[in-house]
């Protein structure tokens, strides 16, 4: 097993994920550099969200390590992980907003816990973050009162509450209309450029993958191993792995075959 890359923001080495004796994915190794927009892709049910849950410490790996800036995250106990987790912002598949609080309170809660800001400053910040995702004016709505897509966007706003270094987004574009999905892609690119955040995104929307990602991993359901890692555009045209090319070409005959 190779050593983690000291320059990488996130290094995963030999990660095996399992539910009990059922192995989801074996021997995953990849690096995510600072300011990368890293996409975890693969067919439905191949363990994309599970990989994300491992990376944020909600599930323990069966084998292997995850390093953040060279430090071993998997070896730390719950208390030791806190300092890592403070640098994360996570958006869950359904938004996972706290249903007993308004959208604005949802964003305010992490700020109240982890910063010394005054109530007024926190309110301003929450309003600003909601405006960033196009939810200006919805501060006092409860999650149940707005649509699924709006819940999702509010989830992204909450994930950005503490200006995290690394943002994990679980299927941010799924269930959004094409325009909102496009807006979301622009938002991600702009945040990366202006805040310098690193993004780890679980998605299988090809349009969005090619528009934003500069690094990726493909999880292959058939072999239960990684199918390839790198820039998705290069993978589409030059990957040695048939499954990757087929996936990234939407099942149509792939670039490499045409060349040869």
């Amino acid at each position: 097993m190779s050593e983690p890359d000291p320059n990488a923001k996130i290094s995963v080495r030999g990660l095996t994920m399992a539910y009990g004796s059922f192995v989801v994915m074996e021997d995953l190794s990849f690096d995510v550099m600072e300011k990368d927009i890293f996409v975890i892709m693969g067919g439905s049910g191949c363990g994309k969200s599970t990989l994300m849950r491992h990376m944020i410490g909600l599930k323990e790996p069966a084998k292997g390590e995850i390093y953040y800036e060279g430090e071993d995250f998997t070896a730390k106990d719950a208390a030791g992980r806190l300092s890592f987790i403070r640098k994360f912002g996570v958006m869950y598949q359904s938004g996972a907003l706290w249903s007993s609080m308004t959208l604005s309170e949802n964003i305010a809660m992490p700020l109240e816990e982890h910063t010394d800001l005054s109530a007024g400053e926190i309110r301003d910040l929450a309003a600003y973050k909601l405006a960033l995702v196009g939810l200006s004016g919805y501060e006092d709505y409860y999650p149940a009162q707005v649509s699924g897509g709006m819940n999702k966007r509010a989830g992204i706003a909450r994930a950005m509450a503490l200006d995290p270094e690394i943002l994990f987004l679980d299927e941010p574009g799924a269930g959004l209309d094409p325009l909102s999905s496009r807006r979301l892609d622009e938002l991600i690119l702009r945040l990366r450029d202006s805040l310098g955040s690193t993004f780890v995104i679980v998605t299988h929307e090809l349009a969005s993958i090619f528009a934003i990602a500069n690094n990726s991993i493909f999880l292959d359901t058939d072999t239960r191993k990684q199918g390839g890692t790198g820039d998705p555009k290069e993978l589409r045209d030059q990957s040695d792995n048939e499954a990757v090319r087929v996936f990234l070409n939407r099942g149509e005959s792939s670039g490499k075959e045409k060349e040869s």
């Binding site: 849950r53 944020i56 410490g57 909600l58 806190l82 987790i85 403070r86 994360f88 996570v90 869950y92 598949q93 359904s94 996972a96 907003l97 706290w98 249903s99 007993s100 809660m109 992490p110 816990e113 982890h114 909450r158």
Partner: protein, 373 residues
């Protein structure tokens, strides 16, 4: 496709013929839902060698489903579909496009005999361990709170308190009043035989403050609040809200379980005192009906019900409150992530809460008897 027309037309028919080791399947008629296909000949398990479809009329999913079953039985890798008409072949090809995943079938086989006993006893042992672990976690969290290392949202705490305190007053009033009346009625019937009707005051008083007040309140709160705790926390779990708490560095135990335990431990004694008062009022009303004036009832009551007696029920209610809150929160935290699992968690929470209340109460009965209180 119009099924009303189909019903009037040719019935669906499948004829199997076998000759010289070759099976022929002749399909005819309208294969629509509502028409029972007529099978004739020796149906073989598997794909026929020849299919004739000359007289085949309209069909809906009935026919492809029948053929699909035959294809699965045959286990042929490349079945011949060329004899089928175009539209039928298209549907069959679509169904066969992604091969059946043999490992996708769940092995939910019903275990039997020793194995089932083993599974059941292991589950029982695990549940004992998890109850002990949760109670231990709760104690540790309470200690953490009092040393200033655990926090939760004040606003949430107040709203839980309001819900499990003031919100429960109407139902507690009704039940306690009726229980007080029932005790007085039943007691009076017996005591009147001895001409000792007056002692109904002592009976109602002692029964309410020692047992019935706290017991009825605890059972009401198990069904009302214990269930609500389990359902609320369980659906937060299903909606990944608990994961979200963890990744923002909040301890879900401190944020969800602690305020609920505190709220119920504070509110149940207050509700118990209230229930005692209402129950005695109920008894007083019935007594007044059989000729014991309220002043007399009250004076007689005070001869037996002193502060020690009255405090016993309140003392117990502190423990009952903790038990109900822990049962509800534990089932919620350990609930699965589907809506059915949340329902099960709620059921288990109510059962566990009522059971633990009764068990605790019998333990207290033994202790108080030994201490001669």
């Amino acid at each position: 496709m119009k099924s009303d027309q189909a019903a009037a037309s040719a019935p669906p028919r499948a004829v199997w013929e076998g000759s010289q080791g070759q099976t022929t399947l002749t399909l005819s008629g309208e294969w629509m839902r509502g028409n029972v296909p007529e099978m004739t000949g020796d149906e073989v398990s598997g794909w026929p060698d020849v299919i004739r479809t000359d007289d085949l009329g309209k069909f809906d999913s009935m026919l492809p489903a029948y053929l699909f079953r035959k294809l699965r039985e045959s286990e042929e890798a490349e079945p011949r579909l060329s004899e089928l008409p175009d539209n039928l072949r298209g549907l069959m090809e679509l169904a066969l496009k992604v091969p059946e995943r043999s490992d996708a079938k769940s092995d939910n086989e019903e275990p039997h005999g020793l194995r089932r006993m083993g599974i059941a006893s292991r589950a029982a042992w695990n549940s004992i361990v998890s109850v002990l672990a949760f109670v231990g976690d709760s104690v540790v969290a309470v200690l953490r709170f009092f040393t200033g290392r655990a926090r939760f949202r004040g606003r949430e705490f107040w709203s839980i308190m309001q819900d499990c305190g003031a919100g429960a007053l109407p139902i507690v009033s009704l039940i306690s009043f009726l229980i007080g009346m029932i005790l007085a009625f039943v007691g009076n019937v017996q005591l009147a035989n001895f001409g000792a009707s007056l002692y109904v005051a002592d009976l109602v008083g002692i029964a309410m403050v020692r047992e019935m007040g706290v017991m009825m309140t605890a059972i009401i709160m198990s069904g009302r609040t214990g269930a609500a705790f389990a359902a609320h926390i369980g659906s937060m779990n299903a909606n990944q809200e608990i994961d979200a708490l963890k990744t923002f560095g909040f301890n879900p135990f401190d944020y969800l379980v602690l305020p609920r335990i505190f709220a119920l431990v504070l509110m149940l004694p207050l509700l118990t005192i209230y229930s005692n008062i209402i129950g005695i009022l109920g008894g007083m009303l019935v007594a007044a009906g059989v000729g014991i004036p309220p002043q007399l009832f009250w004076t007689e009551l005070l001869t037996t019900v002193d502060l020690t007696q009255a405090s016993l029920g309140v003392f117990k209610s502190v423990f009952f409150g903790a038990a109900i809150a822990i049962a509800g929160c534990m089932q919620g935290m350990n609930s699965g992530t589907s809506s059915a699992a949340v329902g099960q968690a709620t059921t288990r929470a109510v059962v566990a809460a009522i059971t633990s209340v009764i068990i605790l109460d019998s333990a207290f009965a033994v202790i108080f008897t030994i201490l001669d209180i």
